[in-house]
């Protein structure tokens, strides 16, 4: 198992080694010690390997991830898994702002809380937050699912497109064009699968409420012309 101690080796050496991995590598389990909040750890990985980070990571951890599983035994800074394409990112602690921003695919699991703008402009990623999310989450979110076991902050789903938002706790307020929608069987199916994938037990899909776009901002209304 390759091990990197960032107290000894540089982050650039770590990332260069990860970027050099071929798809059929036998070095499938990587271990990173002493991250001390460094930025861009395991960003841009494109190989089916597992990278375990022991401690807190800084900004853009596992950004642009493809295929890899990145596990952080700690908190992460701004933009964890931003623009992830596939794979899995699991944060055992809390996440800072813009978790999963613009991500197209894969699964982001956050065991703790995520702060402001979680899932901003998400484009197909699935995000499961076991705690609560901060204000302005899922702003302009386009596709994918955002599942929150705790509460959501102000202006949830402002200017939302087609992302589905599921919240189990309280929602402080909904953003423009975001409304509560009926939780139908097909949504319960999506929830059941995501909860299972995220390792959540003892929580029923019926405990969630679904929010989505009222689709009122999709087209320009001539009646609003005077507003510009």
């Amino acid at each position: 198992m390759p091990a990197f101690d960032l107290a000894v080796t540089t982050r650039r050496e770590l990332n260069a080694a990860l970027h050099a991995l071929p798809a059929n590598t036998n070095e499938t389990h990587w271990h990173v010690a002493n991250p001390e909040g460094a930025h861009a750890l395991a960003a841009g990985v494109n190989a089916p390997v597992t990278i375990e980070i022991d401690g807190h990571a800084g900004y853009y951890c596992a950004g642009m991830n493809q295929l890899a599983t990145v596990i952080v035994n700690g908190n992460v800074g701004v933009g964890v898994a931003e623009n992830m394409m596939s794979g899995r990112v699991h944060v055992k602690g809390d996440a800072s702002q813009a978790a999963g921003a613009t991500a197209h695919g894969g699964l982001l699991v956050i065991d703790g809380n995520a702060s402001a703008r979680c899932g901003i402009s998400m484009k197909g990623v699935d995000i499961v937050v076991k705690g609560s999310i901060g204000p302005m989450s899922a702003f302009m979110a386009q596709a994918g699912n955002l599942v929150v076991l705790g509460d959501a902050g102000e202006a949830l789903g402002d200017s939302l497109y087609e992302t589905r938002i599921f919240v189990r706790g309280a929602v402080k307020s909904l953003g423009a064009d975001c409304i509560e929608k009926e939780l139908r069987p097909e949504h319960e199916e999506i929830l059941t699968k995501l909860l299972l994938d995220a390792g959540v037990e003892g929580v029923s899909p019926q405990e969630f409420r679904r929010y989505g776009s009222a689709r009122g901002l999709y087209n320009f209304h001539v009646d609003n012309a005077s507003a510009y």
Partner: protein
């Protein structure tokens, strides 16, 4: 971009280490602000004496001229003058008459305030920050975006006795706010927007606000992006704008409250592994005060 840090000690046993801990936090934030750096430390002092930090050239001359009435401690380009409160008019009068070129960076019972152009490590070492003791301190590393790289533009800003502020962000209504504050009798040394924010808080405190209500009033009156860290003689406060545009992370233990623009800045603090790590909420005034 800028880096800001702050450390407020609850455990007196850590006071001899304040400067060392703060210096390390400041240096980690070099990536966010390599142009200049500054810091304020709340060290020793008593109610009968005033400490005035001045910055400028030919400080020996000041030391000699005021030798009879003020004790002077020289640190590189700064001089801290300590004297009985009753002599304030005399000292300030001498400075105004003989050395109008000097800048008073801060004054109060306990505050000392230093700032210079250069890498944070160099600035910390020039003023021997690691050896300073105190109860709390705040610091700033600057990456100038809207005005020149000058010592005047470096933070912290002090606009009232034992008060200081560091700011990450930019204010858009600082011109109009400055005029309003000038009508209220405040004066400003620089054209910097952050100095206006400091002046605003000083004005609110002067008008009888608590640190909490002063900051809450600021949510209405300050337009722009900001994360502020503020020091007073016995207090330490943090506030972020309503959309939390600028980063902030805090750590609290039984021994201290610490602020950093990024978690990295907090890594070297004692017992950080057990600390409660959290991000301050937007539009919420966080205040800690010593009794």
């Amino acid at each position: 971009m800028c880096g800001i840090v702050g450390l407020f000690l609850k455990d007196p046993a850590l006071e001899p280490d304040l400067g060392r801990l703060l210096a390390d936090m400041l240096v980690v934030m070099t990536d966010r602000g390599p142009d200049s750096a500054g810091f304020a430390v709340y060290g020793g002092g008593d109610a009968g004496h005033l400490k005035v930090t001045v910055r400028g050239p030919r400080l020996d001359e000041v030391e000699d001229a005021l030798a009879g009435i003020a004790r002077a401690v020289r640190r590189d380009t700064h001089l801290v003058l300590s004297f009985a409160v009753s002599l304030e008019e005399q000292v300030r009068g001498w400075l105004a008459l003989h050395r109008p070129d000097l800048v008073v960076t801060g004054s109060g019972q306990r505050i000392e305030l230093y700032k210079e152009v250069g890498l944070p490590r160099q600035v910390a070492d020039r003023f021997a920050l690691p050896a300073m003791a105190g109860t709390h301190g705040i610091g700033h590393t600057r990456m100038a975006t809207e005005s020149a790289v000058t010592t005047d533009g470096a933070h912290p800003f002090s606009t009232g006795r034992d008060q200081c502020l560091v700011h990450n962000g930019s204010l858009s209504n600082h011109r109009s706010l400055r005029r309003r504050l000038e009508r209220e009798g405040l004066s400003f040394v620089t054209d910097n927007d952050s100095e206006v924010a400091a002046g605003y808080i000083s004005w609110r405190l002067r008008e009888g606000d608590s640190l909490t209500t002063a900051l809450e009033a600021g949510l209405e009156d300050l337009d722009g992006f900001y994360t502020f860290v503020i020091g007073t003689e016995n207090g330490f406060a943090v506030m972020r704008d309503p959309i939390s545009c600028k980063p902030a992370v805090m750590a609290e233990t039984d021994r201290y409250v610490a602020f950093g623009s990024e978690y990295r800045a907090l890594v070297g603090l004692p017992g950080i592994e057990q600390a409660r790590i959290f991000e301050p909420e937007p539009a919420h005034a966080y205040v800690w005060e010593r009794n």
